[in-house]
């Protein structure tokens, strides 16, 4: 069975509109992409959509009350709110350094959540 899907590529700021044709659940054609990233995105988005997740966690004795954190790589889209729930329970202790691991292998995805800045102690 042939099926058409329209996607907007989020690989870069251009945001190409992709027309994807599937046959029996397999991609047979991608149109509208302006680079190779679009092809990879279509494959990923249709079979295993993933997103980068950025949020904050609380920090004790920090220059600010929060430290911004993010997933090193995109995580499965349906699990975004589970990752956010894990972050809710965390409280770090300042000082924190950029790229410090905040959660290792979050939800067994093989992906770490890391700090996105230094947070000096006050």
């Amino acid at each position: 069975m042939v099926e058409k899907r329209r996607l907007i590529c989020i690989s870069c700021p251009v945001g190409c509109e992709l027309d994807v044709t599937l046959d029996d659940g397999k991609i047979i054609e991608v149109e509208g992409n302006s680079c190779k990233l679009g092809l990879d995105y279509a494959e990923q988005e249709i079979f295993d959509p993933r997103r980068m997740v950025a949020s904050t966690v609380r920090v004790k004795n920090g220059f600010h009350p929060l430290v911004p954190v993010y997933t090193e790589k995109p995580i499965p889209k349906p699990r975004i709110f589970e990752v956010l729930a894990e972050l809710q329970d965390i409280e770090l202790e300042a000082p924190v350094a950029v790229n410090d691991v905040v959660i290792e292998n979050v939800l067994d995805t093989g992906i770490n959540v890391i700090a996105s800045r230094d947070m000096p102690k006050v």
Binding site: I8, I10, P13, M52, S55, H64, P65, V98, S116
Partner: protein, 425 residues
């Protein structure tokens, strides 16, 4: 207090434009580079942009704003850029003198051989788009809400309507959703998206947040706190379409309705602004109409990517360093010409040593008291004689001269001042 009162390059603002200018100025040879930031830390608005999407052009990596800022903060510190935090520039003169104030140092002045304006932009407010209605709490610009949520850990509200489909508005729709708020709707008066497509996908579409084009807010309801907004559809000329009104109960209205380059300081400095951009007219080195004053980033025109602001900052920093070093070389080449024994004054009072490389310089002077015997007119650097000539007499009523020649250049080059004496023989 500051180590110096004169810097090669002074940069106002430490966002992506300012930090890039600082790094580039150092790399281009400027020795003393100072960044002035009014916030308590370097990084500017990048620090509250905790979402990804930064660095794809420059680093070919997908970084959050704070990580992107951290790279430039670290690099500036490594390169020896000086910083003044929690410090506000009150005024800039066309001669590049800055009047500055901070809690720590009080009021003081800084001279810049070259200046880079990197103050960024400001959000348009409710008053600027004149939304009718009550004036309750709960109406924020998207960037203000972003600071509350991402830096200060405070939620602006629970049920939210967002006016404008700019990037910050869409990013805040997702962010507030992450933190448990319900974003009822995003309204855009134009028939198309103001922000990037990818933000529509990953901020609105992913979370089923409705986006309505050709819609705006007609009225804000609520006495102390926003209670609802009345939305309305508009035609192509932005006239309200009667009968399309809808009341949406909510406690918060966020505005993502455009950014305006921040040029209050630029105007005082005599920098001419382009009415189309709201920012200074600049050349390819990002120099404004005022020599030695450069500008880069959102202060010039509003960018959609921080990476491009960084690239503009590099250009401005390079241009500013070049200007400052040329000025410094010229300052260092100029030395005073002093009136010594029995000399009342000498003109010119300063000379550019470099001009002696290929042309003569005539020093004109008058003596203080008459000498009716032969005299020796001598030019020296305090230790060594550079030139001399004798004269039959010296009278205050008759101007006298002695000429430095290109053959004297080697001696003059070493001098930090030269003195003319008229001594008896």
């Amino acid at each position: 207090m500051l180590k110096k009162d004169t810097y090669d390059v002074v940069i106002i603002g430490s966002g992506p434009g300012g930090l890039a200018a600082a790094v580039a100025a150092k790399k281009a040879g400027a020795e003393d580079v100072l960044v002035i930031e009014r916030d308590m830390e370097l990084g500017g608005i990048l620090l509250q942009c905790i979402h990804n999407g930064f660095g794809t052009e420059i680093f070919k990596e997908d970084l959050p704003g704070p990580s992107y800022a951290q790279r430039y903060i670290d690099e500036s510190i490594e390169l020896g850029v000086e910083t003044l935090l929690d410090t506000i520039v009150l005024e800039v003169t066309p001669g590049r003198k800055l009047f500055v104030s901070s809690k720590q140092h009080g009021f003081f002045e800084i001279n810049a051989r070259a200046l880079v304006l990197a103050m960024g932009c400001r959000e348009r407010t409710r008053a600027m788009i004149q939304i009718p209605g009550m004036r309750p709490a709960g109406v924020y610009t998207a960037g203000t809400a972003q600071r509350f949520v991402n830096i200060e850990g405070k939620m602006p509200g629970e049920k939210v309507v967002i006016l404008g489909s700019g990037d910050i508005g869409m990013i805040m729709a997702r962010r507030l959703t992450f933190e448990g708020a319900k974003v009822e709707r995003v309204l855009e008066i134009l028939p198309f998206l103001s922000g990037l497509n990818r933000n529509y996908v990953q901020c609105l579409q992913d979370f089923d947040i409705p986006l309505l084009f050709k819609h705006t807010v007609k009225f804000i309801h609520g006495k102390n706190r926003v209670e609802a907004v009345e939305t309305v559809a508009v035609d192509d000329k932005w006239n309200f379409i009667p009968g399309s009104e809808e009341i949406i109960p909510c406690d918060t209205l966020l505005l993502s309705v455009g950014l305006i380059p921040e040029n209050e300081l630029s105007r005082q400095a005599g920098v001419e602004l382009d009415p189309l951009t709201g920012g200074p007219y600049v050349d390819e080195s990002r120099q404004t109409n005022v020599p030695g004053i450069f500008a880069a980033g959102n202060v010039v025109h509003v960018y959609d990517l921080a990476d491009w602001v960084t690239l503009a900052g590099y250009e401005a920093g390079k241009g500013a360093a070049k200007f400052a070093m040329a000025l410094r070389a010229s300052e260092e080449a100029h030395i005073p010409v002093l009136a010594g024994n029995n000399v009342h004054h000498v003109v010119p009072q300063t000379i550019n040593k470099r001009s002696l490389e290929d042309e003569e310089i005539e020093l004109q002077f008058r003596v203080r008291t008459p000498v009716e015997d032969r005299v020796m007119i001598e030019v020296h650097d305090g230790k060594n004689q550079i030139a001399r000539k004798s004269a039959r007499y010296a009278r205050p009523g008759e101007m006298n001269t002695i000429t430095l020649k290109p053959k004297n250049f080697a001696d003059v080059e070493k001098a930090s001042s030269i003195t003319v004496d008229v001594n008896p023989r």
